[in-house]
């Protein structure tokens, strides 16, 4: 491992001068200038859409700025040139990992390395295994990327970045995919890299994490630099959260603010649910539900889950632990091989989504732009699709009336749009999600399944989604929310159930203990250390 070169030791690790990036008509970064000292851990924070990932990609040469320069250790790097950036010592660990899934760890390392010529599989596995052992990354060189748990995939990404002796390592939202314990291990590794003289950039969005690991913090908002880099020593969490949120969303209450920016250690549900009313039989009752695992997940193995009326239940867990199978099972898209599902006290076995919707099931799906909306269809068509499901094929439907109803619903949900005829693809993420909320949250809803409902949304839109779900709960609907953000779950849920390796492994009620939940997330062994050891 090369430390900072003597010549470059005094130069800033990264010196961005007036960097502006545009994607078409959208300005992702606007005149960002900042200098980062070498040998430190720098955090970059901001809301979704603040430009953090774009900034990281500019530094790594993946995105060419429209104007401005980037100097790496005092050396000017041609814009948008990955090879030059890598030669200057910059490596980027991506948020959604950039490793070919069918490759083995050794192949991945060989693929990025400068080693040429014909190799034998055994030889490269031996070579890279000893290299991995040397730099202290606990991975098997012969393991295939697709078989690795998320945390190990991230380790493989970090190893990939270290192959070329990175002097400036950028990790783009590395904590988003990890359980709390995994985050601690990651931070220990980052500190180890710092001790070796590597400058580390961490794109984060939780203040708690920033203060735990970073030496300096830089805040971006709406593509502009708000402050930084400033030392984290003596920094007030609430001041930092104010900088991240800005005054654009002033109506968010204090508990939500803390959850949105990950300020505190533990959080509480910010409102109490209404008392049970007689005649309520439960919004969702799942007993011993079993779904075979597929290429994309663990499946479900004897999951029990209850959601009462007027209750928000959260599903916590590292991504890929059966969350998608759970939603598919509730929707009737993945048939159960054992167990049973009741929605609104009505048992469902083979009936499809239409029958389930009639019983009051509403779904806010994982993929907003694929499952949630037809991006090329108009807004009103997207909105009315749900009410046409289950009607007879020849039942009359008046486009004029439907368009008018859609218009009224969008007004009520505060969607920012020009016309109900515009395609759904032309809306921003937050507005697109509000269209889905307007469709899915209605008076007949008995069970609302919200899968990652705030992913990729900025703070204002996130708060709007939370308030919509709370509103539905207060009107008596059961809400099941699946999220990988514990702060989100702790803030709005009346109960949190942990899913690990397709099993429900724990149920928690407020006040939540982030440690206990974190332990449960890795307890089932799906992501424990024992999987990673050679």
């Amino acid at each position: 491992m090369a430390g900072p070169q003597p010549a470059g030791a005094s130069a800033p690790a990264l010196d961005a001068g007036n960097v502006t990036v545009r994607y078409g008509s959208f300005t992702a970064l606007e005149g960002v200038s900042a200098r980062f000292e070498p040998g430190l851990i720098h955090a970059i924070v901001g809301q979704n859409g603040a430009g953090k990932t774009t900034f990281a990609r500019v530094a790594a040469g993946l995105v060419a700025p429209a104007q401005g320069d980037v100097l790496i250790f005092g050396e000017k790097v041609p814009p948008g040139d990955v090879l030059s950036a890598r030669a200057a010592g910059v490596e980027l660990v991506h948020q959604s990992f950039a490793l070919p899934p069918s490759f083995t760890v050794a192949e991945v390392l060989q693929f990025v390395s400068p080693r040429r010529g014909i190799f034998s599989r055994k030889a490269i596995e031996r070579h890279w295994q000893s290299w991995l052992n040397d730099i202290g990354i606990d991975l098997k060189a012969d393991a295939r990327i697709q078989d690795l748990p998320v945390e190990s995939q991230q380790s493989a990404e970090i190893a990939r970045a270290m192959v070329s002796d990175a002097r400036l390592l950028i990790l783009d939202e590395p904590t988003a995919v990890l359980a709390p314990e995994g985050i601690e291990r990651l931070f220990a590794r980052v500190r180890g890299l710092k001790a070796r003289g590597v400058t580390v950039f961490l794109v984060l969005h939780k203040i708690r994490e920033v203060l735990a690991v970073a030496d300096t913090v830089t805040v971006l908002r709406g593509g502009r630099l708000v402050t930084g880099p400033v030392a984290t020593v003596g920094l007030e969490p609430s001041a930092l959260s104010g900088l991240i949120i800005g005054d654009s969303a002033g109506t968010i209450d204090a508990a939500d603010r803390a959850a949105l920016t990950g300020e505190g250690e533990t959080t509480h549900a910010s409102s109490t649910p209404p008392a049970r009313r007689p005649g309520w039989a439960g919004a969702l009752r799942i007993r011993r539900a079993t779904v075979p695992g597929g290429p994309y997940g663990h499946g479900l193995h004897g999951v029990d889950l209850d959601v009462d009326e007027a209750e928000i239940v959260g599903i916590a867990g590292v991504e890929g632990n059966g969350q998608r199978d759970l939603v598919a099972a509730i929707a009737g898209l993945a048939p159960l091989t054992a167990g049973e599902i009741e929605i609104g006290a009505q048992r469902f076995a083979r009936q499809g989504l239409a029958a389930r919707r009639k019983a009051g099931l509403r779904i806010i799906p994982f993929e907003r732009n694929v499952e949630g909306l037809s991006l090329t269809s108009s807004l009103w068509e997207n909105w009315c699709a749900a009410r046409l499901v289950g009607r007879s094929l020849f039942s009359p439907a008046g486009p004029r009336a439907l368009r008018r109803d859609a218009d009224a619903a969008f007004q009520a949900w505060d969607v920012r749009y020009r016309s109900p005829d515009q395609p759904a693809g032309s809306l921003s993420g937050g507005n697109a999600q509000k269209v889905i909320l307007a469709r899915e949250i209605d008076a007949e809803a008995r069970l609302i399944v919200a899968a990652q409902p705030t992913r990729g949304l900025d703070i204002g839109a996130t708060a709007a989604v939370w308030n919509a779900l709370r509103g539905a709960r207060d009107r008596g609907a059961g809400v099941l929310i699946i999220s990988s953000d514990l702060d989100e779950l702790f803030d709005i849920c009346d109960k949190v159930v942990v899913l690990a390796s397709g099993r429900s492994v724990g149920s928690f009620t407020p006040p939540y203990d982030i440690r206990a939940v974190g332990d449960a997330m890795i307890a089932a062994g799906g992501h424990g250390q024992e999987d990673l050891a050679p």
Partner: protein
């Protein structure tokens, strides 16, 4: 028995060559449906050049160059103009089939079959019944092994595969998937040319319009059946050839009792059965192609 093996090697070799080209393209992320067109251009160029100049090396060079040019055209249409891979590939096939017919008319005045005075060198009488096979048959195992070595055991091969499987992974380390696909198609072009040369000049020494009759597509099917692996694809190609050789044999033996059209359809039925089988076996990731394949 020896006759059957000779017929089997003779009919299998062109399909193996064209399948290798398909494997290279598929690894880089291109479904090359132009294989049929490239192959017939290779066949036509070889025979016509031998006939006109009497030089075999020149004939092979012309065949390779034309295949490279057509592959580069396919790359340009798919990668630069962002056309749909399937349509563009079928376009290249149409261009090859139609273009060779046109070339015959332009040069010889009719679409009649063209004979060449000689073909590819044979491996020689020292090998007994196998002596009549061309040197390309003997070279085939070497090239299959070489392709495997390059694709699966070099950094270049890993990078090529990354471009097909996860282009962002390649981009993230500074490898351009677009350029890599050009290299893949150019690397595959000589294989298509050799496939055509073997078909037309390996034993027959003649070219006729449409003479590939779907062998390029069989090669394409072999890529899928062989899960994108060079050795797998070669074995799949031989499986199809075996069915073909069996079909011819069956025609001789049972031609009077079973409709010959049905027996002639045997290799194609085997192709369909093979694809069905490979889908049933549910090979992961590669049977259905790299993740990003064809998604442009």
């Amino acid at each position: 028995m020896e006759d059957l093996i000779v017929a089997f090697l003779r009919s299998g070799t062109p399909i193996v060559y064209v399948a290798l080209a398909g494997v290279i393209a598929q690894r880089a992320g291109v479904w090359n449906l132009g294989l049929e067109g490239l192959m017939i251009v290779g066949a036509c160029a070889t025979i016509v050049t031998i006939r006109l100049t009497g030089s075999l090396p020149l004939a092979l060079a012309v065949a390779v160059l034309l295949c490279c040019a057509l592959s580069a055209l396919l790359w340009f249409v798919v990668e630069i103009l962002k056309a749909n891979q399937i349509i563009a590939g079928l376009g290249i096939t149409g261009l090859g089939l139609g273009g060779t017919a046109l070339a015959l008319t332009a040069i010889f005045g009719s679409e009649a079959a063209v004979n060449a005075p000689f073909g590819l060198p044979r491996i020689g009488p020292a090998f007994g019944a196998f002596g009549g096979l061309s040197v390309l048959v003997a070279l085939m195992p070497v090239l299959v092994f070489g392709t495997w070595l390059v694709l699966c055991r070099t950094r270049f091969g890993l990078r090529l595969s990354a471009c097909g499987e996860h282009p962002f992974a390649a981009r993230a380390i500074g490898v351009s998937p677009t350029l890599m696909r050009l290299w893949a198609l150019l690397l595959g072009a000589p294989f298509c040319a050799l496939a055509g040369a073997e078909l037309a000049a390996g034993s027959l020494q003649m070219f006729s319009v449409n003479m590939t009759s779907g062998r390029g597509f069989m090669g394409f099917a072999a890529v899928i059946f062989g899960a994108g692996h060079p050795v797998g694809a070669a074995l799949a190609a031989f499986f199809f050839a075996f069915a073909g050789a069996l079909g011819i044999r069956a025609q001789l033996l049972y031609g009077d009792r079973v409709p010959s059209a049905l027996l002639l359809a045997l290799p194609y039925l085997a192709t369909v059965a093979g694809l069905w089988l490979s889908a049933r076996l549910g090979r992961r990731s590669t049977a259905s192609g790299p993740n990003e394949l064809g998604r442009l």
